[in-house]
Symmetry: C2
Subunit: 391 residues, 2 copies
């Protein structure tokens, strides 16, 4: 049994952030009914890389869900959503502010039908505030939220982190928000609405960078792979051209110096002193590391317990022995594609079954079953809705 | 009332990832009792930037908690934790694997005393697997987990995203894990253990990058601020030297060309065609944007609804009118420091009180109250524990 097996989520969201959130809840046990537009479905089904008539992008965020197609612009389609909303615990949507109100599907309307309903509206900038009307994408939030300004080479321009951090962390924030509202509901019986803004989510992550600014009025400069307040914490290029990242605290400094034969004239035993002499520490470390093959360096520093890791590319980390031993890489079967690999959620439970990788749904593959089983629709009614292009 | 007001968390964790998780739950309403080492406390209290006898670092991840000091190496201290564990919903810890077992405080021992207990062990590499014995830091997980290899200038070396992404996202993953186990407990009455690995958390975020690799055997190159599969999605330098990020889909292409007077010989109306002609699109866009001041550019593209955002530095985003209107920047009062600014959680509820920024605790400031109120300890007993340096 999985921990969220008792929950049902009606997911009207598309693209990345919210589908990621609902996939997490799905693989923790929740039943997720994804509502897609008849014909096209979630637009990410058409994104590259394409696989059969679907995409690896869609697969990455929509596993272990059911898919039904419903036309939200038709009254009959809207009615289906209103009926389903009375039988589920959670509704998630990421339409522009106001859209679902015009369809009679906003929180006010659905919670009047189901007062226990937990409802999330996820938008770029939230339902209120001067930018509420604007749209954005992951990289715009990374830019506006400060992350991009903190990322890049020393003296260079801003750089975008190579994963859709704003989308992914929004998904994580939304999953927390849903579970928190459900926890509260256990005590009071009433549902609630969450107005989540992706920009808010990014800003909340500034944590230490904001604290530094609030404390000192100081903004850390871009430092490549280095850390503004810790030395050494940086990536080094080894003899074979491969990169390794070393991060050492005071207790690692002597072992590091000993194993690499590093000698300094000054006392550099505290981080404070090393930050002050950053240039000479980095120069000598770079020099020594450049003489050693990466595999050898990893072994040498592992032996003296100095934290080090290879800068793995995606292929390297996905074939790493530890990652494989933790069961993170698995697969599912999909019609027309066959077996396709996927990454498991990072949860290892004792007391619950672990999350398992499930297949993503074909477009509307569960429409008839969901309407029949959950709403008791007859075959005739379903056929009529199809003929009317409502589903 | 806040959604998690009925929950109590005993937090044995230090530094960043788990303290961030428990701060999120605290500001959603949970009572969090943070257990710190007598004398020094969480080591981040000594990190820079220092404020009075504490640090902005500690403040950023420990707001709205109580702090008690308990010496976990003494039998009397261990006994306090065993007694408290019977009165709380959740225990969180991030000691190296095996440490709390030696103190009689691991999941097996505490869940025998409180079968409803939800218990999280968060480590760098997890409790099992070939690297389980290793230690690491945020940047090592960013390096090993693939994120750093995807980040950097075109043709340049890897770059570390400028926020502790591995720590922060581990905190988000852990918060989800705790709430999921608590949700399951409502149905079964039994607690559970979560073995969370920070590297696992990083790997699970590879999502789209992993999907691309699984589909095509291809690893996207480092592209600075550009997107491997979308053109244009990039940061541009404006006339005044300030940076702006533009991300456009097909529906934005004509408005973008029109407002910037861009002319191309070929048909570039689809993203596929623009990806193919990435160089010429980027060349012309860079050229045009470099002639316009950032404020003007933002206004021009906003008017035609092309997604654009300034690359804000930390000072800019924290003074942004929208961020202020959303109430993200607040403050708390701390002894010896006075009013200090902080970032609120990104949750706006209808049906619950919103998260509020609370003060972080002074070291051990709640020890006597917690022991008296929750365990019924007398003044004499508390004095004896103090004399024995157990608290």
């Amino acid at each position: 049994m999985k921990p969220l097996q008792h929950l049902t989520i009606l997911d009207l969201s598309r693209v990345l952030a919210c589908p990621f959130a609902s996939m997490i809840l799905a693989e923790l046990g929740a039943t997720v009914i994804k509502v897609e537009q008849p014909g096209a479905g979630d637009e990410t089904r058409a994104f590259e890389p394409q696989l059969a008539q679907d995409s690896a992008y869609y697969f990455a965020c929509n596993r272990s869900k059911a898919s039904i197609t419903v036309n939200l612009r038709q009254p009959e389609g809207q009615n289906i959503i209103r009926e389903l909303a009375q039988k589920v615990d959670v509704v998630v949507e990421n339409f522009p502010a106001g859209t679902l109100g015009r369809h009679g599907l906003d929180f006010a309307m659905l919670s009047a039908l189901n007062p226990r309903l937990v409802y999330v509206s996820c938008t770029g900038f939230g339902q209120t505030g001067p930018y509420a009307h604007k749209k954005g994408y992951d990289s715009v939030f990374q830019a506006m939220g400060g992350l991009m300004s903190l990322t890049g080479e020393k003296g260079g321009g801003p750089v975008k982190p190579g994963l859709p951090i704003a989308d992914l962390t929004s998904g994580l924030w939304v999953a927390i928000g849903i579970l928190a509202m459900l926890s509260g509901r256990e005590k009071t019986g009433h549902g609630a609405h969450l107005d989540f803004s992706m920009l808010d989510g990014q800003v909340s992550l500034l944590t230490l960078a904001a604290a530094r600014y609030f404390a000192l009025g100081e903004i850390a400069p871009r430092l490549g792979t280095q850390h503004p307040g810790r030395v050494p914490s940086a990536t080094f290029r080894c003899k074979d051209g491969k990169f390794a990242h070393i991060t050492a605290s005071d207790q690692h400094w002597q072992p590091l110096c000993k194993v690499l034969n590093l000698n300094f004239d000054a006392d550099l035993s505290t981080n404070e002193l090393r930050v002050e002499h950053r240039d000479i520490v980095m120069l000598k470390l770079n020099e020594e590391v450049s003489k050693i093959e990466r595999a050898k360096l990893l072994q040498m520093l592992d032996e003296v317990e100095v934290p080090i890791g290879p800068v793995n590319d995606v292929a390297e980390i996905l074939s790493d022995a530890h990652v494989r031993a933790r069961g993170l890489v698995g697969s599912f079967d999909y019609p027309g594609v066959g077996e396709f690999k996927a990454l498991a959620l990072p949860y290892k439970f004792l007391g619950w079954d672990n999350p398992e990788i499930g297949a993503p749904p074909t477009l509307g593959g569960d429409t008839e079953k969901v309407l029949a089983d959950r709403l008791g629709y007859s075959k005739e009614k379903i056929a009529a809705l199809k003929a009317a292009k409502a589903i």
